[in-house]
Symmetry: C2
Subunit: 346 residues, 2 copies
């Protein structure tokens, strides 16, 4: 067993899209767990859009990563030393260990994993992204059979959960995805009723036309996880009593339509939105999944069996090696990954 | 008993604020109730901001009044002829009889009134406006003791209900009202903890400063019934998990910030709102009270006793005579009334 560990740290705050020099790989001595702590050798960690937000020094719902600090991430791995009665060597565990080869956390900040399922599922389909999709759809979207749902980033771990859960509840499901390949995946792997390639539509009104054709009875639930052009396209198509869960992950994108603080000049669409909310009696709910983990056991109880039996499909996009995490993360922000982006450690 | 009745009809669609020539008083024979119908001699009818919306030919949640049609209104009066077993002559009843001296409706579109309370209360504090305030606050605002509520038009029948219900539930209540007299009323008659005169603030940022001082712990519930400057002032002061019930009545105003279809050029504030909803995890719910009358008995059960015992204050602004209704309505749209605007018939 090596007595050093590697961590990927934030070297500089990115301006726009992150680049290689914004990250630095550091090596340091392996920590020795104190009383109550557990040391884990990671098998994999998760890359998620929200991490982009943590790289900025902006006021948000979570504190930024300090310069020189370890990039934040959820990871899974094997316990290699324990000073807690709750974990023994060999246990598999989840925790916010960061972009790193190893992590040391108090036992009460970790979760033991069910070892009947691949451990990587704790990062995607059964982890934060899957839970985000399930929570937003079931608790805020209030889906009813016969209704129509639209979700973007539909082959991602949030969108694919939303689509499959909605489909199982009898809704018509419309996927928005970037590119023909992802649209094919949305239809074939995740069972969406229709899929629209947003790359094929330059502006919101062209996209709107395509969505309107795919959703002839209008939209009852728009699960918002991307913002910008898709939201603009969808708003006029919302039905009376429509629901829009607004998911926390969108704020992590590179200063896009919603991520940035800049205010564009042009038509002020706020009154239009405000009037739509009223006239259509819509319910718009922002949520940040970390505040809803009391519902996590309910989620696991419903969804883990579906994963185990193969009734619920999921996709993982795996890159190997901590040193390759920055490039994989940049690709994720550009939508180049297919499915849940995971970094495996060897 | 006269054999004619008077009605106030829509003579022309107003451009901006309505004027005298947009209305026409007509006289016609008193109808004879058909099987199942009931004829009522009105004692009073209600004037409400939503009626402004009905004068336009715009697509909205309710059909417009046709040119030459009777202006819409809820009214209370005495049954003078009945072809229904559910009503007998002398009963007091509520119905959508319009701006009129008499009305004839099917019995199933009318409601018999509890005659232990003044019948005019069925138009205000115990009618649609009071119910709107109660429903929006209790069902969508989800008030919790110790929180802070802001409501505009605070001496009106919606705002004064919202404020008093919130106060009774242990919230700090902040009134926005137009003029020093209304502010004094908000404090003294309706028990608000603070009152801010929006006439004293030229722009949203000045108003925001005053609200911030009155709401030192931020705003948990903003009951939206006016839009425009107040909404703009309030948004940055909303707390995490803030709730904004958006009340149907605002759409009735003269083409203002929210009522009109025009889109102003300038900074596009939609992304700012969208980001606020997410980052603050807010819940924004549009509602139109006519879709929620299944909750009306619950409302009456809670609120009618409070009105009967005087624990709940209300104000009525009474004008006499159908011919004076248009002027009273114009005043209402300009905020010149004090309390619920009612037209009494003599």
């Amino acid at each position: 067993m090596s007595d050093t560990m590697q961590q990927m740290t934030l070297a500089a705050r990115p301006v726009g899209a992150p680049k290689d020099s914004d990250f630095a790989l550091v090596e340091k001595p392996l920590p020795i767990p104190a009383e109550g702590e557990v040391l884990v050798r990671l098998h994999a960690f998760s890359l998620d859009p929200y991490m982009r937000g943590r790289m900025d020094d902006a006021k948000s719902y979570a504190a930024p990563v300090p310069i020189g600090g370890v990039m934040e991430a959820g990871g899974v791995g094997e316990v290699i030393a324990s000073q807690s009665p709750h974990f023994t060597v060999g246990d598999m565990a989840f925790g916010m260990f960061g972009w790193a080869s190893h992590g040391c956390l108090p036992a009460n900040q970790m979760r033991k994993l069910d070892d009947t399922l691949p451990t990587s599922t704790a990062l995607g389909v059964l982890g934060m992204p899957g839970f985000t999709g399930w929570y937003g759809l079931t608790q805020l979207g209030r889906p009813k059979a016969g209704e129509t749902l639209v979700v973007a980033a539909a082959t991602g771990p949030v969108g694919s959960m939303v689509g499959q859960m909605a489909k199982a509840r009898g809704l018509r499901t419309v996927a928005i995805a970037g590119g023909a390949d992802k649209c094919a995946l949305a239809l074939e792997k995740f069972g969406f009723d229709a899929a629209i390639d947003h790359h094929a539509h330059e502006n919101a009104s062209s996209l709107r036309k395509a969505i309107a054709e795919a959703a002839p009875k209008g939209i009852d639930i728009y699960f918002e996880n991307v913002g910008g052009k898709v939201f603009e396209a969808v708003l006029p198509l919302m039905n009376t009593f429509g629901r829009i869960p607004v998911c926390g992950m969108i704020s992590g994108y590179n200063a896009g339509a919603l991520g940035g603080g800049a205010v564009a000049e042009g038509p002020d669409r706020l009154p239009v939105l405000w009037r739509s909310i009223l006239v259509k009696q819509m319910s718009v709910n922002g949520f940040i999944i970390s505040n809803h983990y009391d519902e996590y056991p309910t989620f696991l109880k419903e969804v883990a069996p579906l994963v185990a039996t193969g009734q619920l499909a999921y996709l993982e996009d795996i890159v190997e090696g901590l040193e390759n995490a920055p490039r994989a993360f940049m690709g994720l922000l550009e939508g180049r990954n297919i499915g849940k982006q995971i970094v495996k450690l060897t």
